[in-house]
């Protein structure tokens, strides 16, 4: 059965065919489509894979670990920065190990198409000392996902599958294999493994270290790593390229197009196959290291004193930042290409913007009017569609760092004496990581106004369900925000005067206040109407 699938969908199909019992995820570009594919597949009758969205990446990974404890296979998906949120269970799950297979898909975003940074998740994989798999194409994404579960159960470790945006969001044909059934319920009977008291943890950690040699051996014999030469000519001293994951495609594209006498070592598994790599390096006087992301392996292979035969991102043969492309590989391999056409000067940038009719717009109009009364005011912002309020014509927010930081940064600024201390946070971001910060503010009585721009969905990533919809008033009251300082408004033009008044009152209040600006995202509403 062949299907045209996004890399993300190939992973999803691979996980389903590997017999997962659940996927746990919080949306994040470019990982969202994995879970969405599984959710769509579960609409058919008789499907039993649990797939609802989690509140954040940490809750997702812990739940998946619990499913693994119970003996079943589970999948976790997140974008790269999501792994920062899930870092605690991530690091400790490598110490406990797993029971049922556990695969953690992390989608990196080199060039920051939709992200705050371009961190390389392979660093985390090495940090946790677990196997990392990095497919080069959609077919491998499918096969390596299936393999990840086998490897996880064999090594009794979580396995990371790392994909970049370009693979996650690119389609190609994928050939499916025979699906495997789910594992039966079979809770772990191990005792010490799961109780990370120091005495147990030391033993577990030693076992993790002892497994490393076996992991390297698996890499050495992995069918996903190979040496390839485009031309058959036996020439000596040709250039070698060590290409990791998707970088292999760019190298091969160029080598084929220009008939380059270059030999490529493709690597898709970590820890590195040490002998394979060493043999390859010894064979070549000039070597290019092509990695999508940070120069993780380049740094390792070059060593502290620097091996000058190794070219790559560190010596400027390839750019230090941003995603790779065929053009960059061509240049790095010394191909003279004609200068491409320039983009004509008449072309203007077309940045994304808030939709017409979006409630965030009306909120920012009201907020800007109120804030204008304060000299040099600042509004702390967060991540979501409403981040676009930082751009003209609104220029309404002044920070965007990480999910939840609007509230906690505003609190710190309030503690430092900033008045008024105001922040805007989306509903999904609030439940993801805002609630704990609000509790801090309540406990500390920090004078702070939190505006929850509640569009009843996770809009930025395409309109997924939001964990707290309909309950924000109750959540804030439960945490201890005074009832009369939890105000709800509807951000519409016709309510402008009234909304301005509410905002003004709460900004002047010397305590914690919450304003819930509530109106459904127009895109989500449209989709719902279409479905109905």
């Amino acid at each position: 059965m062949t299907k045209l699938l996004l890399g993300a969908e190939a992973i999803a199909q691979g996980a389903l065919d590997a017999g997962i019992s659940g996927v746990y995820a919080y949306p994040g570009t470019p990982s969202t489509e994995i879970t969405e594919f599984i959710q769509r597949a579960q609409r058919d009758p008789g499907k039993t894979v649990r797939s609802a969205w989690s509140t954040n990446e940490k809750t997702a990974l812990e739940a998946a670990l619990g499913m693994s404890y119970a003996g079943k296979r589970s999948l976790v998906c997140m974008k790269h920065v999501g792994l920062n949120v899930a870092a605690d269970p991530f690091m400790n799950a490598s110490i406990t190990g797993v029971h049922g297979g556990l695969t953690i898909v992390v989608a990196d975003d080199p060039s920051m198409h939709s992200s705050q940074n371009e961190q390389d998740s392979r660093v985390y994989g090495k940090f946790a000392m677990i196997p990392v798999l990095e497919p080069a194409n959609q077919q491998e994404a499918y096969e390596m996902t299936r393999y990840a579960f086998e490897l996880s159960e064999k090594s009794r470790l979580p396995v990371m599958l790392r994909v970049p945006t370009r693979l996650s969001h690119s389609r190609s044909t994928v050939q499916r294999g025979e699906p495997r059934g789910q594992n039966p319920l079979n809770p772990s009977t191990e005792k010490g493994q799961w109780i990370l008291l120091p005495a147990n943890a030391r033993g577990n950690y030693q076992r993790l270290l002892d497994k490393q040699e076996e992991l390297v051996a698996l890499s050495e014999s992995s069918p996903f790593n190979w040496v390839k030469r485009w031309s058959n000519e036996e020439t000596n001293n040709i250039t070698g390229v060590i290409a990791f994951g998707i970088a292999y495609n760019y190298a091969m594209e160029v080598i084929r197009a220009y008939h380059l006498p270059v030999e490529v070592l493709k690597i898709s598994t970590y820890p590195l196959p040490k002998n394979l790599v060493n043999r390859f390096i010894e064979k070549h006087n000039t070597l290019l290291i092509a990695e999508e992301g940070y120069p993780v392996c380049e740094e390792l292979l070059k060593g502290y004193r620097g091996d000058n035969a190794l070219r790559g991102r560190l010596d400027g043969t390839l750019p230090r930042t941003g995603e790779l492309s065929p053009g960059l590989l061509a240049k790095a391999l010394g191909v003279e290409t004609s200068e491409p056409n320039a983009v004509p000067a008449i072309v203007k940038g077309r940045p994304p913007m808030l939709c017409q009719g979006c409630g965030h717009r009306d909120l920012f109009h009201a907020l800007n009017e109120v804030m204008a009364a304060y000299p040099n005011y600042r509004v702390f912002g967060d991540i979501g569609c409403y981040t676009l309020g930082a751009l003209p014509p609104f220029n309404a927010i002044h920070t965007c760092v990480d999910m939840g930081a609007a509230i906690t940064m505003a609190k710190g600024a309030a503690d430092a004496g900033m008045r008024p201390a105001v922040c805007v946070i989306g509903d999904s971001t609030f439940t993801h990581s805002g609630i704990t910060g609000l509790l801090d503010a309540v406990n500390d009585r920090s004078p702070l106004t939190v505006i929850i721009s509640d569009n009843e969905t996770t809009a930025m990533t395409g309109g997924q369900d939001s964990a707290g919809t309909g309950r924000f008033h109750d959540i804030c009251r439960g945490i201890g925000v005074a009832e009369k300082h939890i105000r709800t408004l509807v951000p519409l033009k016709r309510n402008h005067e009234e909304n301005v008044k509410v905002l003004r009152e709460e900004l002047e209040y010397e305590g914690v206040s919450v304003i819930i600006a509530q109106r459904e995202c127009v895109q989500t509403a449209k989709r719902k109407r279409k479905k109905a």
């Binding site: 198409h113 004609s338 008449i346 077309r350």
Partner: protein, 197 residues
């Protein structure tokens, strides 16, 4: 057979629909397909593009190399020019003439069209009236697919088959409307070809 196609437009214009229809036709012919898309932030009214590669050989890169696109198919005139660095020296631009002016500094429309004319072989199509004629103002993307169809290396019959399969779930009326839109767009290309001869 080897075709590199950039499909361009503004978020919400339906460029992925065009790509999906070409994919269907190409797969029926047993061609290899790779199609890189833009998801996420830019879809919110920003510039979006898809790199579509068809080949009878294995395709390595998901991205089209600079200077190697045979065709830029754009549903918006200024967006066609944004991807000019990808266009091959003998490549073709097929673009709709109706601008989406959702930015404050949108350039003069006539100058945009003139720049396209000077940049490459081109076919400029007023898509909206044709889409209306076909039965829906929203079928502009399929009109443009028709206009670009002589450059795809896939026959009109194959393309119409793919349109029928793509819209099949939505009923005969929708299929027929889109096939009409496709034919009206294609007629523009044929007309241009005849006047050139």
């Amino acid at each position: 057979m080897n075709k590199n196609i950039i499909i361009a437009g503004v978020g919400g214009q339906g460029i992925l629909t065009i790509a999906a229809i070409i994919d269907l036709a190409a797969m029926k012919l047993g061609l290899h397909v790779k199609q890189a898309e833009v998801h996420g932030m830019s879809q919110r009214g920003g510039a979006v593009e898809s790199h579509l590669r068809l080949s009878s050989e294995e395709i390595f890169s998901d991205l089209i190399p600079l200077g190697k696109a045979d065709l830029i198919l754009s549903i918006e005139p200024m967006e066609a020019l944004r991807y000019l660095p990808f266009l091959a020296p003998d490549g073709v631009i097929v673009a709709a003439t109706e601008p989406i002016e959702n930015i404050g500094n949108y350039p003069d429309r006539e100058k945009v069209l003139e720049t396209i004319r000077q940049s490459a072989q081109h076919l400029l199509v007023e898509a909206e009236p044709l889409a209306r004629e076909a039965g829906s103002a929203r079928a502009g993307n399929v009109v443009m697919l028709g206009a670009a169809s002589p450059y795809l290396g896939i026959s009109a019959g194959q393309m119409e088959g793919a349109i029928a399969r793509f819209f099949g779930r939505k009923g005969d009326e929708v299929v027929e409307m889109n096939i009409n839109a496709f034919r009206l767009g294609r007629a523009q290309a044929i007309k241009k070809d005849e006047t050139n001869q």
